[in-house]
Symmetry: C2
Subunit: 118 residues, 2 copies
Amino acid sequence: MNTATLTSDVISSDRVEGTKVYNEAGEKLGSIEELMIDKRSGRVRYAVMEFGGFLGMGTDRYPLPWDMLNYDVDKEGYVVPLDKDRLQGAPRFAQDARPDFTTDYGRSVNGYYGVPFI
Amino acid sequence: MNTATLTSDVISSDRVEGTKVYNEAGEKLGSIEELMIDKRSGRVRYAVMEFGGFLGMGTDRYPLPWDMLNYDVDKEGYVVPLDKDRLQGAPRFAQDARPDFTTDYGRSVNGYYGVPFI
């Protein structure tokens, strides 16, 4: 997460969950529903965005690598580099069908976004 | 977090929040209310336990270093090495008076529990 515009080093999960997500064109994509945390390292691997379905698709959840999120103070939300075309092909799952977040799954998600899987 | 008894590498913040916390004597101490996340690294620094006040103290919040949490499958909750004496002196804050989680604050919390501040 880009913290250049933020004043504290630490944020509460309460603040992240429910925060809106926009693309760089300013279109609202959804909001953060949950965080997926690596149990051993305690690292947040993904902020999971619920997509409101304004493209006529169902309500799906998109795991976004944490480093993709940039907080925009004016928008009071996150901005991610994810245009509609990219979103349509993005890894997603139904709310009631959360996949196992295996290493292979993680690699495929991060690979889609070009974010290193550490 | 000790993951020896868990089958997935990753857990949802939804699952962590609300989970009960016990000490090693089996006494319920409280439950996890929120997670404090380092924005830059995405690392969960603290699971914040709300203490129900059964010792006659008010309802306070205790930041517990993530690595202190051990999930107990039988209890369906976390067990932390935190007896009543240790809890009484532990770093805490009122719900409406969350401190800035500065580096100094982090060092003092981790120092209390003997957990390295990374």
